[in-house]
Amino acid sequence: MPEVNAGTPILEARHFSKRFGGTLALDDVGLMVEAGTVHGLVGHNGSGKSTLIKILAGYHAPEPGAELAIDGRTVRLPLAPGRFRALGMAFVHQDPGLIASLTVVENLRIGTIAQRRLAPIAWRDEVRHCERLLSEFGLSCDPMAPVEALRPWQRPMLAIIRAVDETRALLRQSGQGGGLLVLDEPTASLADSNVGQLFEVIRRIQATGFGVLFVSHDLEEVLAITEQVTVLRDGRVAGSGPTKGFTRDDLVRLIVGRAIPPTAKTLRDEARPSEYVAEVRGLTGPGVRGVDFSVSAGEILGVSGLIGSGFAEMGPMLIGSVPARQGRMRLGSESVNLATITPAGAIAAGVCYVPGERLREGCIGELTVAENVGLPVLGRFFHRGWLHRRALAGHARAQIARLGVRPADPLLAFETLSGGNQQKVLLAKWLQLEPRLLILQEPTQGVDVGAREQIFAIIRAFAGRGSSVLCLSGDHEQLAALCSRVLIFRRGLIARELVGPEVTKERIAHECFGSDIPSAA
């Protein structure tokens, strides 16, 4: 590795491997972060980024042969969970883990306070400490204000400052040098205009001698803030070195693993509007800014993007569980206002939504398959004052058998099924209504390979009967397999529309990361 920065290595990981079942999630990966530098870690979903971080956090044990040195000292692996703190490492995840109703000072000092028993808390000293801390990192807010009163962009910064402060206190106790801060997608919840403020905080942290591992999808940010960068692909290091030596296209090529596929001339879909089954106009809401698109009969339209790009936020807005600020959806001859629609109204209009979180949003785990499948059609089985439960169970059995749920026993509790079978039950719950527009969110998350293909077949067969399907997914391979048209979101807008031969896994990934290839213009 070229020596550009003379900083001492704060973290040196060598020969990190991790096997999950038959697949190698990490394959002999090395990573070195120097004190006082920001090191970017980039890669696709499933490239091994999170596995690597989880090994450092002590959540996974690496395969034998892995070596880890922190601040020059060798550390025995696997790390016990929580051990990273004593080693001077701090992790800040996308969810900042703050308690919104408590004050800034309480949130900042909660870790310190939690370690005391009966020693009185000198609140005045705590406040003074916090004021010093906030001004050190250039965050101007009142320490006595509740966190919910802060601006949204200040909250992740508060979490970062807290992590640094706690780590410094621990390092001071143990007399060690520099620490390591791991930031996992810290900008995902920030608007463009606030990223600069976060960078300012990171620069100040860097100046205190911390090494920063900056994990992000956003290549522009990585190019802007990091000195070194490591690209992971399929569990291996695809490239590593000083950030200056890479252009954005270099990084994309390393992430995707192939030269950028040639751009076919974009065939604007000029289908006659009457063929569109569903037309969304001006959808604006949390994370989405004025989006227009249409889905034709029999089409499976894919929608993808990076975390925080807004594509995933569309599902709840289209079904009305999260209110949109404005927007209309035309379904056939009906037009619904997306700012006021409720799930019941959307279902009545012929829209069904299969959420990504099966057990939290899809079905009730402890109730039976028959009860879960039957919920939307209870009215059909209620005659002359009686719910015909045996007929309902029979109906559920037929529905799940048609979709290949095994065992096709409607009396089992939903939660006892495997992930793939749960997903099929969830599809059965909604497909029986024969919706005009079916919205799928991450339809094969946590589903094994065999069931994945079966679910694809179910979705294709459904679209083949003339209905429209909208598939919101971060799984590019799945979109390439299912869709002939994919919309790519960036920063709340549709940045690209890929059609026909352009719809490949690599191309989708490439567009998600943003691209400056001239032919796209």
Partner: protein, 358 residues
């Protein structure tokens, strides 16, 4: 989550004496690895426990306990508790706690007493007024819980105290007797084989509740609302209206229990409801471990009430003092809830499956 081992339950035989559909419902809640015999034991454990209790007291106190009139008096006098328990079954199915139910019982009984015995309003109108009061309280609870968004346990705690105040106020803190004999005749006077109409009403309401929870789409929807509001909402259910309706129906049933109380004692005591609160919760939770295990249900609660009351009655015959009631009901509540949690954990093998946080 992949389940290994047997995944299909053996075909279910309906246990004798139970409608087949209920067997289906029970089977539905029990994961597959339970044998038919295990299911049977689980569903009827409470009835076995009741039989064992009767047998024990029959042996210990053969002369005083095993008398027909003991049982008829237990059946007759506890209709009030049964109906109050049903009120909780409805609200608990929607995952709401109605702590004001016992106060509604007192208010309703007191309204009948004040209107009929003091103001000489016809008994029929007095009863209707009591029902109306129950519905009104339920609507206020519903507004507080659904519209304003207060946790039901807090909103109904406050409402309960507020209603108790009103009850004390309209009664001037006195016991009021002299309620029309018509009501007494139609509630507690034994009509046939020593059984009074009050018990018949309780059985009729049990049937109605069983029908509602098992055979109407509304009952099924209420169950989904209680188990996962987010799932229910995404499935297109009117979650707010269902919760509101549950609060009103629960409060209405509590006022029915109050009218039965007035008829049982021919009088109303401003604090009469207080002693019913804990027994009703204990019976509702204990009932949810049997007949349709894992769900608040009518017949399980019905059996639980009589199991608890039989125990207390037997103990009091043995000369054990009044404090035994508190010990018994409190202990039963804790054991019932602990049992249902432990059984569920053992069955699902997946402890602490994340419940919807609402």
């Amino acid at each position: 989550m992949n389940v290994s081992g047997p995944t299909s339950p053996p075909p279910l035989k309906s246990p004798a004496g139970r409608p087949r559909d209920e067997a289906v419902a029970a089977a539905a809640t029990i994961p597959a690895r339970h044998s038919g015999f295990g299911q049977f034991c689980h569903r009827y454990a409470l009835l076995f426990a009741w039989a064992v209790t009767i047998a024990i007291f029959g042996v210990v106190e053969p002369d005083s306990f095993l008398q027909i009139q003991n049982f008829t008096s237990i059946f007759n006098s506890q209709a009030v508790l049964v109906v109050l328990t049903f009120s909780l079954v409805i609200t608990l199915t929607a995952s709401e706690y109605d702590l004001s139910a016992a106060s509604v019982l007192s208010l309703s009984a007191m309204l009948v007493a004040v209107l009929n015995a003091q103001l000489h309003v016809a008994i029929g109108w007095a009863i209707l007024a009591a029902f109306a009061a129950g519905i009104l309280v339920g609507m206020i609870n519903g507004v507080l819980v659904v519209v304003v968004g207060i946790e039901s346990i807090i909103a109904t705690l406050g409402m309960g105290s507020l209603i108790s105040g009103i009850t004390l106020w309209i009664s001037h803190s006195n016991l009021i007797s002299g309620i029309s004999n018509i009501l007494v005749t139609y509630v507690i006077v034994p009509q046939f084989f020593g059984i009074s109409l009050g018990f018949v009403y309780a059985v009729a309401i049990a049937f109605a509740l069983w029908y509602f929870l098992t055979y109407t789409p509304l009952g099924r929807q209420l169950l989904f609302v209680g188990r996962g509001r987010r799932v229910a909402r995404l499935s297109g259910l009117a979650v707010g209206r269902l919760r509101f309706g549950a609060m009103v129906a629960g409060s209405f049933l509590a006022s029915v229990a109050g009218v039965l109380y007035a008829g049982t004692s021919a009088s109303a005591d401003p604090n009469s409801g207080d002693s019913f609160m804990l027994p009703a919760f204990a019976a509702a939770f204990l009932g949810s471990t049997s007949i349709v295990p894992g769900r608040f249900n009518a017949w399980g609660s019905f059996a639980a009430v009589y199991f608890l009351v039989t125990g207390i009655y037997g103990l009091s015959l043995m000369g054990i003092q009044v404090f035994i009631q508190n010990l018994f009901y409190g202990g039963a509540l804790i054991i019932a809830v602990a049992l249902s949690i432990l059984v569920r954990r053992a069955e699902t093998r997946e402890p602490d499956i994340a419940k919807e946080g609402n």
